[in-house]
């Protein structure tokens, strides 16, 4: 599954970059994220409740940040297993483009793979689900980073 888009965020590039590297912000923004713990430099473990169509599962796995080019871009990737529900792995190349002092355009290029029951039952729902999740992520992210309001934790 591949997906790319961009999102305008009402904050400076440096602010956005800092937020992108802040586990607390990430945890608040990742839809369904139950926990996110830093385990090493640029490494975290996460628990995420993920749902595609009729399949809902708790995924445990690790998240790695790589190809860091502050404050321009990085790659965030992860893989996790949801037991009988299957597995997911993938990543996103994230690139920041300043649009003036307080606006940053965030480009993302996602490449993800799912397997197991998720793929069997959710195949035709996966793209729309991924788009919806990405939408939720950036809506929360823009709110938190833009400081317009405190982001409500996404509910699944």
């Amino acid at each position: 599954m591949q997906m790319n888009d961009s999102q305008s965020i009402p904050a400076s590039r440096e602010q956005v970059w800092a937020a992108l590297n802040d586990p607390d912000v990430l945890m608040q923004c990742i839809p369904g994220c139950q926990s996110l713990e830093v385990t090493g430099p640029n490494e975290m473990t996460a628990t995420v409740v993920f749902r595609v169509g009729p399949v809902k599962a708790t995924f445990g796995g690790k998240v790695v940040l790589s190809d860091l080019d502050p404050p321009n871009s990085y790659r965030i990737s992860g893989e996790g297993s949801g037991g009988v529900a299957g597995f997911a792995k993938g990543g996103a190349m994230v690139r920041l483009e300043p649009q003036g002092a307080v606006v940053t355009l965030l480009h993302y290029d996602v490449d993800a793979q799912i397997g197991g029951k998720l793929a069997q039952l959710g195949a035709r729902l996966i793209n729309s689900t991924a788009r919806k999740l990405a939408g939720e992520f950036f809506a929360s992210f823009a709110e938190i980073v833009g400081g317009t309001s405190s982001a409500a934790k996404s509910s699944i």
Binding site: G83, V84, G115, G116, K117, Q120
Partner: protein, 806 residues
């Protein structure tokens, strides 16, 4: 003769014998919810098993941790390959001469492969236990595309076969190669092509699909430790074969294994093979000392137990300019998945695919089939067809249409020009079969006259003009299909399963009051055997069908038989019934002669008893003979009236038929409408016309499903993406077109009652009819071959690719 004496017509009608549209006796219980299926079997203390399955299509299994699963209340055991190794059952033999993992042994090779078996006090607990088993996998690159399976750098799937250059069917060319099977005269065929005035070549794919019976595969195994006996209730199309296989692999004496196939909710080939679930349930019962039930769910059925087809057929026909075929050359790439678990007679790695010359008089032909491994579920069963016959029929029927298009000839005319002629039967085909009987021209012409074929072609031409003028967005296709099946496997000279000749059997026992029981080696899964078998006996021995009970499926009571699949029941077991009935009749004649005080030769058969020649009032009914058989047989004769027959057929039977599908397709949406579907079947002698019609309806519906959308599709990562009825097309009454049925009768000359078998013909003939209709609709826009399945999206895509849609 007084008025109360029944007429001969009334006596015949009272028998409800062959030719009678007798209502199905089994439906009395089925329509009242009184069927007895495997899942209805509930034994005291019975446990339930459920599988942990692999989410990966190809991975190394690094560890399996059952600790948490065993803490789930109700979970009693978790069986893994390591457990099975202690009883030497981690792997099992397949019917195709390969071996298959029962539970993942070091590796998984397809998505949803069985990894561990959780046994619990109820199904819910088992499922909870499955969720708690932790399996650590190391994913390996999946091999999904069969065309890449023999690339030099293709991943090694079957590490257990390392270094084995010879398989069950000869040399292996590559680590993912299973077999190569060649038939026919290559030199002669190549020569025909080099001299050909016209030739076509097309890669025709018959996609992977699944028999998908509504009742999934299931069993209950109960091991009695005291007696050392194993009883298995299961959804088995071939119960005796299962008993023998279990005896051989579990090393249990065969008399201590009792296999019972109760009512079965559809089989279509899915229930021929032996599956890990059966082995695991049996082992679990032996381990726990309690009965264990295993019932597949829908996803498991579609994704793990025996798929069908997945044949990729590169097909060439050579012909003269005026349309006489001169040669056929076919290469098949057969995707068998992770293990070769095809359910074919043992010596036939590609089944009877060499029927691919079809109904046509090809002077020469050559066929080569390469079987390969991929990371997909094993199987390759005959889904409502004889072994690989629907693939063959689709191949030749599509290719004939492609040739007709190239020659600018009508497809019906090309077929008529090349049919085997009635006087050529018995006909020896270029690929080695002896066709028993046929009258193809009559059947084809009847189809053309009844449907108004010429007028339909005229209408099509007008519609095409209207389309070109922009007056309509609908295109019309005529799908002609003329198939020859090969069923009734089979003669012991060339058919066996694991060394057992493919005969079948019947035992008839007549009771004193003129009733009786017939026990069979076959097993109905919905075919209506209880109805039709009694009709054969009724006609043969003059006892009303209602007085004959038919019993199948219990290996303790039934004579040994090879079961029901490949339309073999009527050609093989139907013959055994007639032969057993004739033995009864011969003894009855001796009893009647004794009672009537005449010589046997002075008697003649008359509907329901014997009469003295020239003295029609001196008669003895079969009912009275039954009574006499138990109290006053001739001196020296044993009392009783029973017989058994094991019938080894001298040849296969070759049913055929002419089908026409009229279809309209909206190019802008791809939506099709089957305007008309006409199916003429010739299955030889017709035992019960109503059941034949029902069989044809069912087979056509499955053909419609397959051709128009039903598919087991894998994505590039090896995920099954059509693993439920949300995505796997299962037509209901809403989608299913109206069927018109018709027939001709060309009896089989070698079958005792001339019957040929019909249950699968409509699937064999139906699929090419639908596909030819779609292809014919698009042909005037420049299409030569559009691959199945022809769902709305693919139709729209075809229209778009051909430039008919912006």
């Amino acid at each position: 003769m007084n008025d109360m004496t029944p007429t001969r017509e009334q006596r015949t009608a009272a028998l409800e014998g062959m030719g009678c549209k007798r209502k199905r006796v089994e439906d009395v219980r089925f329509t009242q919810g009184k069927g007895n299926y495997v899942d209805d079997v509930k034994l005291p203390g019975m446990l339930h098993g459920d599988f942990v399955r692999s989410p990966h299509p190809h991975a190394r299994v690094k560890s399996i941790n059952s600790e948490e699963a065993l803490k789930v209340p109700g979970v009693l055991a978790v069986i893994t390959a390591e457990t099975l190794k202690t009883v030497n059952l981690a792997w099992m033999p397949t019917l195709a001469g390969d071996v298959q993992m029962v539970l993942a042994d070091g590796k998984v090779l397809f998505q949803n492969q069985e990894v561990a078996f959780v046994v619990a006090t109820d199904r819910y607990a088992a499922d909870d236990g499955v969720n708690k088993v932790v399996v650590e996998y190391e994913p390996l690159p999946p091999l999904v595309d069969p065309f890449k399976s023999m690339d030099p750098d293709a991943p090694v799937l079957r590490e257990d076969l390392a270094g084995k250059t010879t398989g069950a069917h000869g040399p292996r060319k590559h680590h993912n190669h299973i077999f190569e099977w060649k038939v026919g005269d290559k030199e002669l065929t190549d020569a025909a092509f080099s001299k050909a005035e016209v030739a076509i070549k097309e890669m025709i794919s018959y996609h992977r699909t699944h028999p998908s019976p509504l009742e999934t595969c299931q069993c209950v195994c109960s091991f009695d430790k005291v007696k050392g006996e194993l009883t298995i209730w299961g959804t088995f199309q071939a119960p005796h074969v299962i008993r023998t296989v279990v005896s051989l692999i579990a090393k249990l004496p065969e008399q201590k294994i009792h296999v019972i196939a109760p009512d079965i909710g559809g089989g279509f080939g899915n229930k021929v093979g032996a599956y890990p679930g059966y082995i695991c349930a049996a082992v679990a019962s032996i381990v726990t000392g309690k009965p264990v039930k295993w019932v597949e769910d829908r996803i498991e059925n579609l994704t793990a137990t025996s798929f069908a087809r997945d044949y990729h057929m590169t097909t060439e026909i050579a012909a003269t300019r005026d349309g006489k075929v001169t040669g056929l050359r076919v290469h098949v790439l057969a995707d068998h998945g992770a293990f070769d678990a095809c359910a074919d007679p043992s010596k036939w790695p590609a089944g009877f695919f060499n029927i691919v010359t079809g109904s046509y008089d090809f002077p020469t032909a050559h066929l080569a089939v390469d079987g390969v491994y991929t990371n997909k579920a094993p199987g390759g069963v005959a889904y409502r067809c004889s072994f690989r016959v629907t693939e063959a029929a689709y191949c030749i029927e599509r290719a004939m249409d492609i040739m007709a298009q190239k020659l600018n000839m009508d497809p019906a005319e090309l077929r008529l020009k090349n049919f085997i002629k009635p006087e050529q039967f018995p006909y020896h085909s270029a690929l080695g079969w002896e066709y028993d009987s046929g009258d193809y021209h009559t059947a084809m012409r009847k189809m053309m006259e009844t449907t108004g074929y010429a007028a339909l072609r005229k209408e099509q031409a007008e519609k095409r003009e209207a389309f070109r003028r922009g007056e309509t967005r609908e295109i019309m296709g005529l799908g002609v299909s003329f198939f020859t099946e090969i069923v009734g496997a089979g003669p012991s000279k060339n058919c066996d399963i694991l060394g057992i000749a493919m005969f079948d059997s019947c035992e008839i026992r007549m009771h004193p009051t003129g009733a009786g029981i017939a026990r069979m080696g076959t097993k109905s899964q919905g075919q209506g055997h209880e109805t039709t078998w009694a009709q054969i006996i009724a006609t043969e021995i003059g006892i009303p069908a209602d007085n004959i009970q038919v019993e199948e499926g219990n290996t303790d009571t039934a004579p040994y038989g090879l079961g029901t699949y490949g339309s073999r029941s009527t050609p093989v077991a139907g013959a055994a019934i007639a032969m057993a009935a004739r033995k009864i009749k011969a003894k009855a004649q001796m009893i009647a002669a004794y009672k009537l005080e005449v010589h046997e030769d002075d008697l003649e058969w008359d509907i329901d008893g014997f009469r003295v020649k020239g003295l029609p009032e001196r008669t003895m009914s079969m009912k009275d003979i039954c009574w006499a058989a138990y109290n006053s047989v001739p001196p020296g004769m044993e009392p009783g009236l029973e017989a058994v027959s094991y019938y080894d057929p001298p040849n296969m039977t070759y049913p055929f038929g002419a089908y026409l599908c009229v279809m309209d397709i909206d190019v802008d949406t791809g939506v099709y409408k089957v305007r008309r579907f006409y199916a003429l079947d010739d299955c030889g002698t017709r035992i019960n016309p109503m059941i034949i019609e029902g069989q044809v309806h069912g087979g056509l519906t499955e053909a419609f499903a397959i051709a128009m959308g039903q598919e087991i599709r894998y994505d590039d990562d090896g995920n099954v993406v059509t693993g439920s009825f949300m995505d796997f097309f299962m037509p209901t009454a809403v989608e299913t077109p109206h069927w018109e049925t018709d027939f001709t009768v060309t009896p089989s000359p070698h079958h005792p009652i001339g019957a040929k078998g019909v249950g699968e013909s409509p699937n064999v003939g139906g699929v090419p009819a639908f596909s030819n209709a779609v292809n014919d609709a698009f042909s005037f826009l420049g299409a030569t071959h559009i691959q199945m399945p022809h769902d709305y999206w693919r139709n729209w895509k075809a229209a778009k690719d051909l430039g008919a849609v912006a």
